[in-house]
């Protein structure tokens, strides 16, 4: 037993890493399902609905397809860069999740459990370093493929990522000025205004020590720059199918393409987490702390969801629908009921619940934009990044620093 506690500083992060990777890969897979269903419903069609009820087994089928597909190696590729690029992209995307705090400290078995794999005091800088290095995955993939369309797509995409990285970093400086620290946990705690709840978040700016300023300009610059960084619609010209075959990942198939795919969705998740932490209060509840009845909101959501899943499963005639879906529904309803019965567990998961709700809202907005917006032409994209977004970010920094200086006196 003493060996376990002696090496606890090593074992606990490893367990956290394993749990985090498992959860993130599952969320990635089901994010593709959400994307296909939501885009389909926006376009007045069904989306995947044959593989399992509501198409829920579609990500599993896609995974099996990726594993069994042939993985060709094109001739005359630069082998080091060809194999390094998807590996680098995936490694960087997954590493950036290590510094994100998913909730407040939870008291577990007498010890405090920090809900982030690594709690460093420069976590925001670590995230920016990883974003800066992510350009290499794309650039090397374009170069190594020995294909002029890939090279063009890779160069365009890297140039786009570098241009918007400036606006991304500058738009966060306003938040740093207000919070006074690089640590994501301290940025969240700075937004914790107990009386006003929702209004204490950085987007509204009524923080507890009075030094806040609304970061709404910063939020819009950040979100637009972040969409450009992750190469999503409306900034996805470098990987659009109708423009450049498939851009920088044309020559990649099966598992290497799956690595790029997972890296893109994981960076979407990271950006959504960052947006909630920096501007929307992270794990803070939107209700003031004195409204203690709002602690039951997770149960209020889980129990009806569980009941709906039970009744939906009974519609189906195959085993998956008749047995598994009601089983899942019963588990969800039981969790919801258990939260009411055990208030200690309820308090512990409040932070995580609000964090996940906000992250999924941002992911839904990402998918919503994919379904509705057309894409930018490349010169429009670059001129927007340099001539509009960068000056607006700099203006936000100047304005925020003026207000913070004025309020500090």
């Amino acid at each position: 037993m003493s060996l376990l506690t002696q090496y606890a500083f090593l074992i606990v992060p490893i367990v956290k890493v394993a749990v985090l990777i498992l959860i993130v890969l599952t969320v990635d897979a089901y994010l593709t399902w959400i994307e296909r269903k939501v885009v389909a419903h926006i376009q007045s069609r069904w989306g995947p609905h044959r593989v399992g009820p509501h198409g829920l087994l579609q990500p599993l089928a896609d995974g099996v397809k990726f594993i069994f597909k042939e993985d060709p190696l094109p001739a005359n590729v630069d082998k080091v860069a060809y194999f390094l690029a998807p590996f680098l992209a995936l490694m960087l995307a997954l590493t950036s999740l290590a510094v994100i705090p998913f909730g407040p400290d939870i008291p577990v078995l007498g010890h405090r459990l920090t809900l982030s794999v690594a709690d460093v005091n420069i976590s925001l800088l670590v995230l920016f370093s990883i974003t800066a290095l992510a350009v290499y995955g794309v650039a090397l993939a374009g170069w190594a493929s020995n294909n002029k369309y890939s090279l063009l797509g890779g160069l365009r995409s890297s140039a786009q990522m570098i241009s918007y990285e400036l606006a991304l970093t500058l738009s966060v400086v306003g938040v740093l000025l207000v919070a006074g620290s690089f640590s994501l946990r301290e940025i969240i705690e700075h937004q914790a205004n107990g009386h006003l709840g929702l209004l204490g978040w950085n987007i509204f700016g009524f923080t507890k020590d009075g030094v806040g300023f609304t970061q709404i300009i910063g939020f819009f610059c950040f979100y637009i720059a972040a969409i450009a960084e992750t190469n999503r619609v409306p900034f996805d010209l470098p990987e659009a199918e109708s423009e450049l075959v498939a851009g920088f990942h044309t020559e990649y198939a099966s598992m290497k393409f799956a690595m790029f795919f997972i890296a893109e969705y994981t960076s979407m998740i990271t950006i959504s987490c960052l947006a909630t932490i920096l501007f929307f209060g992270g794990w803070l509840s939107p209700f003031p702390a004195s409204w203690t009845l709002t602690h039951y909101v997770p149960s209020l959501l889980l129990i009806p969801l569980g009941l709906w899943v039970i009744f939906d499963g009974l519609r189906y005639e195959n085993i998956f629908g008749r047995i598994v879906l009601p089983g899942v529904g019963v588990v969800l309803a039981a969790i919801g009921a258990g939260l009411i019965v055990f208030p200690a567990v309820n308090d512990a998961i409040q932070g995580v619940f609000w964090f996940l709700t906000k992250v999924f809202t941002f992911l839904f907005i990402y998918v919503w934009m994919r379904g509705t917006l057309p894409r930018f032409r490349y010169d429009q994209l670059m001129s927007f990044g340099w001539k509009f977004l960068l000056p607006v970010s700099i203006a936000n920094v100047v304005l925020t620093s003026a207000v913070v200086l004025w309020r500090m006196h």
Binding site: D78, V80, A81, L84, N121, I122, L125, V126, F128, S129, T131, A132, L133, V135, Y136, A139, L140, G142, W143, L151, G154, L155, S158, A159, I162, E165, T169, F182
Partner: protein, 166 residues
């Protein structure tokens, strides 16, 4: 062997292997990748010394901007393998040992001069960004403004160089 020494030797070995790989690689893109490995190893060493902001700036600016510039130029110019050299044999057989001897001499001089360094022992404390910025904007504000001017001049120079002759 404390943990800090183990990490130091690991990162130092990575940096030296990266630099040797920079010399020995034939394709310039592989040399660029080796240099990126050196940059990241050095950023790790800065973190070990407690300079957290400098480590982040090293990765963001050096590894994420300057080296990307190098990689872009290599891709644009389609730089291929290096050609065979027609260096004299004397240069290779006398030059490399001489360079190693100079390096060894400097290293030995440093190792023997430990008595002359003012020896406050490294405290292992983290240098906060606040301390760095207080110094940067009070004592060093004049060089700071000069470097901003330098960057402006460099941007203008790059634009002028990139223009086509009309």
């Amino acid at each position: 062997m404390t943990g800090a020494l183990v990490i130091f030797f690991a990162l130092a070995a990575l940096a030296v292997v990266g630099s040797v790989s920079l010399i020995l690689q034939r394709e310039p893109i592989h040399s660029a990748l080796s240099l990126i490995v050196v940059m990241v190893a050095l950023a790790g060493l800065y973190l070990l010394m407690g300079a957290e902001f400098v480590a982040a700036v090293q990765i963001i600016v050096y590894g994420g901007a300057i080296m990307v510039l190098f990689v872009f130029v290599i891709m644009l110019l389609n730089a291929g393998e290096e050609e065979r050299t027609n260096f004299s044999k004397l240069a290779t057989f006398a030059g490399i040992p001489l360079a190693l001897a100079v390096t060894g001499f400097i290293a030995a001089a440093i190792a023997h001069s430990s008595a002359s360094l003012p020896a406050p022992e490294p405290s292992g404390a983290l240098t906060s960004t606040k301390t760095l910025s207080m110094l940067l904007f009070s004592d060093f504000v004049y060089p700071f403004e000069l470097t901003s001017f330098l960057i402006l001049v460099a941007i203008l120079g790059a634009i002028v160089l990139a223009q086509r002759e009309n």
